[in-house]
């Protein structure tokens, strides 16, 4: 991937973002004024992204729900600390990542990622190519899961933000240059891991990776 590709950002609908940010701000105002039921609107708006982010970290649907629930609860407790210098979503993602990080340090992902059922893919058919691709994806996810924490987070957040380097850097509270360096190093480690795996196909198949 070139540097130009690294820095490219996804085009977004700024008007919609602005409207959403205003709605988030209004909800937070109501909650801080004592109307805790206004938090439901925030939960409905952000439950999808927060749960999917958690899912990318643990690849376990049940655990992702628990982690997202904990993130929302922490967000509710810490709402007063949102300084409004950044978007509510940025603050929420940063907080959620901290929660997920703590949770995964407490109980690491031990379950083999391959055993976790994948979401249904309507394009999926039981052709050989599809199975091979699915196996390749599982091997890649397993390799990502074994990366050191800082590289793993960089890789997961970068692709979660649809390759928006700025968005991922803000969520991780890192300078873009640092994130770029971690991505580069993370990919290098992945290449080495996958190359090693392919150099020992018999051992890899014994482990059930491919």
């Amino acid at each position: 991937m070139t540097a130009a590709e690294e820095t490219q950002t996804r085009p977004s609908d700024e008007a919609a973002d602005h409207g959403q940010a205003a709605a988030d701000g209004a909800c937070v105002d109501r909650i801080l004024a004592g109307d805790s039921s206004a938090f439901e609107e925030i939960v409905r708006r952000w439950q999808g992204p927060l749960m999917n982010l958690a899912y990318r970290f643990c690849r376990d649907r049940g655990r992702a729900e628990e982690m997202a629930q904990e993130a929302f609860l922490r967000a509710f407790r810490a709402l007063a600390s949102w300084r409004r210098e950044s978007a509510f979503s940025t603050w929420l993602f940063a907080l959620a990542i901290n929660v997920y990080r703590t949770e995964l340090r407490r109980i690491p992902v031990f379950a083999p990622l391959d055993s976790v059922p994948e979401p249904a893919d309507p394009r999926a058919s039981h052709t050989f190519e599809v199975q091979a691709q699915a196996a390749e994806d599982r091997a890649l996810r397993r390799a990502v899961a074994t990366l050191p924490e800082k590289y793993r987070e960089a890789v997961i957040l970068y692709y979660f933000h649809e390759m928006d380097l700025g968005g991922a850097a803000r969520s991780l509270n890192l300078p873009e240059g640092t994130l770029k360096a971690r991505l580069f190093r993370g990919r290098e480690l992945l290449r080495k891991k996958l190359a090693g795996k392919h150099a020992h196909p018999r051992r890899a198949s014994h482990q059930g990776d491919i």
Binding site: E40, E65, A195
Partner: protein, 127 residues
Amino acid sequence: MSQDPETPLSTNLNDRLNRALDGEIVPSSGFTSRVMASVGEDAGTPPPLAFPWRRALPAFGCALILVLCAGLRLLWELRYAAPPEANAPAIHLALLAKTAAPLGWLAAALAIAWASVKLCLRLAGER
């Protein structure tokens, strides 16, 4: 696996990572209500009592003054006390007996303090 071993990453790693890490899940139907239930429970819980610094500060000040006084007294005694004689076991024994006398009181005070703490914790737990 039928993959070409020579080109394990023949396609762009970036695209492959994007595809492999993708995976949308939808929260279960009761997710929002569960979150709101825990939020409601949390909102209904009174905030933890803050440490009473204003009340505790005088006690801390007194304790600090006592420690300073004790330190100064120790320094004074070390500087001006006569060096102990080498062959005076009787004096040593007498000193030991004198210093050991309050140990019983010290042990009793510690036991009472420990019992007080346990009782407070128990009462707080039952609340």
